[in-house]
Point group: D2
Chain length 268, copies 4
């Protein structure tokens, strides 16, 4: 079982960014969805200056309702790719369908599998045959074992560059969007060699909970963080209530650096 | 919102079988996976004689581990199709990937979306463009609202032949595989015009719980049932512990008929 | 383990009412809280005429907020007792504290342990030393095993007159108050000799879901039902939105009788 | 609503130990159950030297099965009290019944309400009338709102010395005993003035997960920690698999101090 071998920790390389093992905390930040080129540029420029190593932005958006904004599609991929090159940082985006893997892989440096697709086995198998890192989000009701098994579906095809991402599970609690399960980070660190990052934005659903949960994630041993940032959260087409402004992001990074240092992990 | 319009109940036609509205209870039965032609024939012949209106059998199997049996694929589809014609009944099978929709639609009369794919929006959208009935299973942690929204993703494309299928949600309970949520049936009956059926086999995970839950489902107002039957459950490649033998199926149908009659629904 | 012995089914006697085994379905009905004597009389008279065998009504109410109505206390117990004698039927009410057991036992024929107190072990132990039947509601997040173990805490003290009551567990679903777990009824029937009844009112939280779930409970094998009825639900001090009017109760009983007959259980 | 007033943070005083506000992290440690005097002395001596400010130990144990060890009762209270005086530190123990409040308050400096009793309203009300600090554990399926409401049940009686304790909620995850909900800590910090501490031992159920979750709790803003320590975990009468040895506790404290400093909280 590749996903559950202990021993030496896997390190996933995304350009110059190394994730996992003893490497510094990896910070991925950006808006929930790519809404436009200038918006994306203005959002991520300060974010990269504050310390983000990679940019995220959705082009294909999984939305509960078919009447909600579904993303800019290929146009969004192109914008994301262009801004990534311009800024010199790798870009991450979600792929929702096995038929889109090739297309998305053309524009993105890391392909993300969303929580709703964690057991979309056709998609996982297809991702096992490409040579790009994959961020695999935990399903909303997935056990840790099923999550590792989903990683196995990718790895068995030959692509072992899998980064796990805890993003909260669904519980009865109503004051947070999901319940961030940080013990899953500690469990993964114990049973698997794969790197694991945390998305406190989707997990909590509220701006004011992002920084405390980001710090907690780092203290629990996370290898990285994925943070939603929007230039103007109240105007975001999706997930504005959980997005930080670039300024909030910057001050959060300062706080996180101190926690990272306290647990023996540097934060470049 | 097509999935939540009240008013007249939708009736989905599968050959001569009508599901929903005031139509008789529809019974779908068969093995978890198509394991071979003779096995399938020997299983479903007595099952149809006992009153099943449609045959089910998986050709593409979603499995937690990549090392488990993944189904016979196209060979399985062909066997299922052949047996269906031979017996003169429609066949139901799962489609896991938007890229397989056309292929599966060639062999199956009804395409099933599994719980793990309930929010595989690419798949749902693709199914919205075909002209075959769809059975949409509820996701393991999906709310009723999200389930109806998933139906909407299909219906918005033009295909309104959607049958909802409650198959249990994931809770803390460990003595059943999932927790069958029969109140979801009553809620759906109240807010939606779509037919809703129940799968007590996957929901409970134990043979001895299938009949009581099937009866309860009918009493709660379900339009149909999907039941796992295997000639020899202890030799099944998957889900044997929840499969009925044809003989158990037959006696369950007799019990169900009485409950159906008691709630004013006939059971042909 | 007394609560998990298979074999002969236990029958609990409450005056002339026998619950469990092959006895007819036992129907317990009444308002959530005793609000006043005339109100209770006017509510339960038609309810008993429609077929209820016992009256329920809370005198000590467990309320999430300390500022909500907490029940009439001893005054409520006396009213309930008086109406029970007047109508010639046993009465059921909740006891919340080990210190109140003697008091409540003076006025009630059956003492009920609420979901929130299922693991109030001091209370359970105290109830094990009295000679009155106990209705033990399942905790909101209790496993079936823990529920049976809670019964064991009572039975080990010598009082084996325990009736289990499924009333829904807490899940992520928001369109129902709780998720009624009818498979728990079938499981209990299989592993325990104790009678098990169902409370579809608290489980669903909505009037229109009570009748379908009551029928489903009977089909699943429940030995009885506990139903909230209020003369004027919109004026109830608590739980009005889930209470039936006496007229709705009456027509539900007619429907239930047919389902009970269909599963071989008579409904006096 | 006392439990939800924002504004100035409450500080609860337990002897010389101050909990909440800007006070240093409070560390409560000790065995799950008081098993004997010498054992307790030998366990807590090194633990206090390593930095624990209070001792915990159960005398009345809430146990799922009535056949498990139920605690030493009054004898346990006396031992705990004696060791506390001897070492000069306050002691914490659980009270399970409103009838025992006076007795437990005689021997303990802080009374703890366990998760199973979070909505034992009789107990809460009784605790509202004493003048000792209360640690209120969150129920296994309680929402944050219900937890604060439970605190309100105590506070409304006049006792405002309430310390909340997050100890994990029940989810579908099987690799941890419960799911520690650290976002609850951040939420409480935002909406309530009450101090909140975290019990990573009961939450995770595994020794190797205690230190990472303790660090995460501190990073999330917890005002204190409650940690199970046993001289010889493999011989503990209960919860051995989640207990640290005094040596493990000591090295965890060193790690925690660094995280506490990183989030601006000192750790004496």
């Amino acid at each position: 079982m590749k996903s559950m071998s202990g021993g030496e920790k896997s390190v996933v390389c995304v350009g110059k960014v190394l994730i996992g093992g003893d490497n510094p905390l990896a910070i991925i930040a950006g808006p929930c969805a790519v809404e436009g080129e200038q918006m994306l540029r203005d959002t991520v420029r300060p974010v990269i200056q504050s310390g983000a190593h990679m940019i995220r932005g959705g082009a294909f958006k999984p939305r509960t309702s078919p009447y909600s904004f579904q993303g800019l599609g290929v146009k969004g991929l192109k914008i994301l790719n262009r801004i990534g090159r311009e800024m010199g940082v790798p870009v991450v985006t979600e792929v929702m369908d096995s038929g889109d893997v090739e297309l998305v892989a053309e524009y993105a440096d890391v392909l993300q599998v969303g929580a709703r697709n964690m057991q979309n086995f056709s998609l996982l198998k297809r991702l096992g045959r490409i040579n790009k890192p994959i961020i695999l989000k935990r399903g909303m009701a997935a056990t840790i074992e099923e999550w590792l098994m989903a990683a196995e579906h990718i790895m068995v095809g030959g692509n072992e560059q899998v980064i796990l991402c805890e993003r909260g599970i669904r519980t009865h609690e109503q004051w947070t969007r999901n319940t961030l399960d940080l013990s899953a980070v500690a469990v993964v660190k114990n049973v698997s060699s794969l790197p694991v990052i945390v998305d406190p934005s989707h997990a909590t659903g509220h701006t004011h909970l992002v920084a405390p949960m980001a710090k907690a994630a780092v203290a629990a041993g996370a290898d990285g963080l994925m943070i939603e940032v929007h230039l103007c959260p109240e105007k975001a087409v999706s997930d504005g209530q959980q997005s930080l402004t670039p300024r909030q992001f910057s001050s959060m990074i300062a706080e996180i650096s101190r926690v990272a240092a306290a647990v023996g992990r540097c934060c470049q």
